[in-house]
Amino acid sequence: MTTIKETTIPVVRLRKPAESRSLWGDALFRLRRNRAAVIGVIVLVLTIVIAIFAPVFAPKNYDAAVLSDNNAAPDWILRVFPTMISRDQGGYVTINNSYPLGADKLGRDLLSRIIYGARVSLEVALIGPLISIIVGVIVGLLAGYVGGRVDNVLMRVVDIMYAFPTLLLIILMMAVFRTSFEGQQPGTLAYSLNRLDSSMGGLLFVFVGIGLTAWMGMARLVRAQVLSVRELTYVEAARSVGAGSLTIIYKHILPNIVGTLIVAQTLDIPTYISYEAFLSFIGLGVKPPTPSWGSMISDGAQAIQTFPNQTLFPALALALVMFAFNFLGDGLRDALDPRLRGVD
């Protein structure tokens, strides 16, 4: 007996993982072996924690302006950026070490603003996929499962929306929201929407703008997946034993496409984040004093020659989060659908 056991040990170790893992366990296993994806996850978890507990991590409040400290910078920044010269040496920079990354032109702490700014980017990273999945799945399921005329109409609408230059549409909508909902009489819908938007620092309209333009790709994807899954034998089998449409969609079709949806949405998150940053950059996104990395880059860009730290640090934060989502998305794609590895 003992000899047999000893010989089987290597076999057991080889086969065990393959037997006991579910789809998700398997995916998780592959994801954990992907170093870039793991780094991405770590960066994201850290960012999320920092964003949630921003008041704890931020040394100051994001809109606490000390005008006398405007454009101040700590010692180490002057060493990193040799073009910035302190006042003692005949330059223009006020040294103040109580600002870890320096202060902006109104004397607000850059680090604190970057930390609070993470909230905006992460909220967009959460809401963007949420809206696009909800609308996209409903439209896609309808088109794919019901088919016929419904499919035709829905897909033509999607086609037209798809051909629309997304960013132009978002810009236009933002401009319309921003200019028309302001200065309304209390009691109207426009007034309450504007109040809500203001209390969210201008994010409501950003969400609406992104949400209205982001679902088409998802709808197409869901429809294509439904069409391919619908004809599979096990769905036919389910139908033959009397399962209703909803059961089939919920039990058989959705679980099959959920992986693809997650991968597609994770890979889209950087786009949503860059839309928000872009809108804030041109002044149509968040409202001041809410800090967004996009608006900080825009504020700093004007002073890049004199105070490069004011634009480079928010840009770095934005780049880091975008990278993390890209790595995670690539890793998820490889993990959930190994056939797609290396294919774009």
Binding site: T83, P165, T166, L167, I282, I304, P308, T311, A315, D344
Partner: protein, 337 residues
């Protein structure tokens, strides 16, 4: 083929019409007009302004008038003076009649810059954006294609990883990030290139590099994937089997075919470049359409917003249509219809 091309362009026209209608409705369906100020103008003045700009007729009529002015060409004769209401983007002298000119595309006067028409603004700003876009596209192709080819040929070597690393960088980092970094490195730290402005070739380098970098990355990734796929095809094996040198196999048989899918990316690239111009022109202080659009949108200058969106949308939609047609034309395996 003819039928396919026709269908494709009819579809493009339909999309443009919907774009025009949506833009029009979005702008007009909301309260307040281009003449609402903090200190309200007298009602009489507003009525006059509305009459002058045709804003007092029903919406459908306004829309039809507007679209009609743009798409219906006219032939004018006799001495012509430029007026705000009749300024056409295209005018071609006809070889007959009394100074007869074929004129097309009247985008109307601007509400805010009262002495200019939308076409004036196009003429002043569009060539600048166009120039920037073309140079960026060239930069993107010149960097992207070789990067992709090298990565594919030297698959899984240091070259591949380095090339694809750069490509991932380019794909995941938007213009809004690349611009300040390039500006700092080349303009502030090394003092090699001017930070902002427009006019000299020097001032073109940084913005074109910023815009081209992202597109180069897209091209590189696609070229690599496509070349790898082509190298696995049977006819490549045949070419090798009959004793052709590796250089000839790659240059003659593989490269040409791997470029077919790469052509498709030029549609999305146009969109990317247009998107990029808004940021790049703002950051680099370039007086192009992108920057003008951003300022006109906050001023609710309806005709300028409409005109810009239509021109950009037309560019994108036409680029996509051309790409579709080119794709079918290049790849005989695809049936059209």
């Amino acid at each position: 083929m003819g039928k396919f091309v026709f269908q494709r362009f009819m579809w493009a026209a339909l999309v443009l019409f919907v774009v025009a209608m949506t833009t029009f409705l979005l702008m007009h369906a909301v309260p307040g007009g281009p003449f609402s100020r903090d200190k309200p103008l007298p009602a009489q003045t507003i009525a006059q302004l509305n009459k002058k700009y045709n804003l007092d007729v029903p919406l459908t009529e306004q829309f039809l008038d507007y679209v009609g002015d743009i798409i219906v060409p006219v032939v004018l004769t006799g001495a012509q003076q430029k007026s705000l209401d009749h300024d056409y983007l295209f005018s071609v002298r006809l070889p007959f009649g009394d100074n007869a000119t074929f004129r097309w595309a009247n985008f109307g006067p601007s509400f805010k810059s009262t002495s200019r028409t939308v076409n004036d603004i196009f003429r002043d700003n569009f060539p600048i954006s166009f120039q920037l876009g073309i140079v960026s596209l060239i930069v993107a192709t010149v960097i992207g294609l070789p990067l992709g080819v090298i990565s594919a040929l030297k698959r899984n070597t240091v070259y591949d990883y380095a090339g694809m690393g750069v490509a991932i960088l380019g794909v995941s980092v938007p213009v809004i990030i690349t611009a300040p970094f390039l500006q700092y490195l080349f303009g502030v730290e090394w003092k090699l290139l001017p930070l902002t402005g427009w006019g000299t070739p020097n001032q073109l380098i940084l913005p074109a590099l910023t815009l081209g970098f992202g597109s180069a990355a897209i091209i590189a990734r696609l070229t690599r994937a496509s070349l790898l796929q082509v190298l696995n095809e049977d006819y490549i094996r045949t070419a090798r089997a009959k004793g052709l040198g590796e250089g000839r196999v790659v240059n003659v048989h593989a490269l040409k075919n791997c470029l077919i899918p790469v052509v498709t990316v030029f549609g999305p690239l146009m969109a990317y470049l247009v998107t990029g111009t808004f940021v790049v022109e703002t950051i680099f202080g370039i007086p192009g359409m992108g920057r003008f659009f951003v300022t006109s949108i906050t001023g609710r200058d309806y005709p300028v917003i409409m005109g810009t969106i239509l021109v950009f949308a037309a560019l994108l939609v036409l680029a996509n249509a051309l790409v579709d047609v080119a794709y079918v034309w290049l790849d005989p395996r695809i049936r059209f219809g």
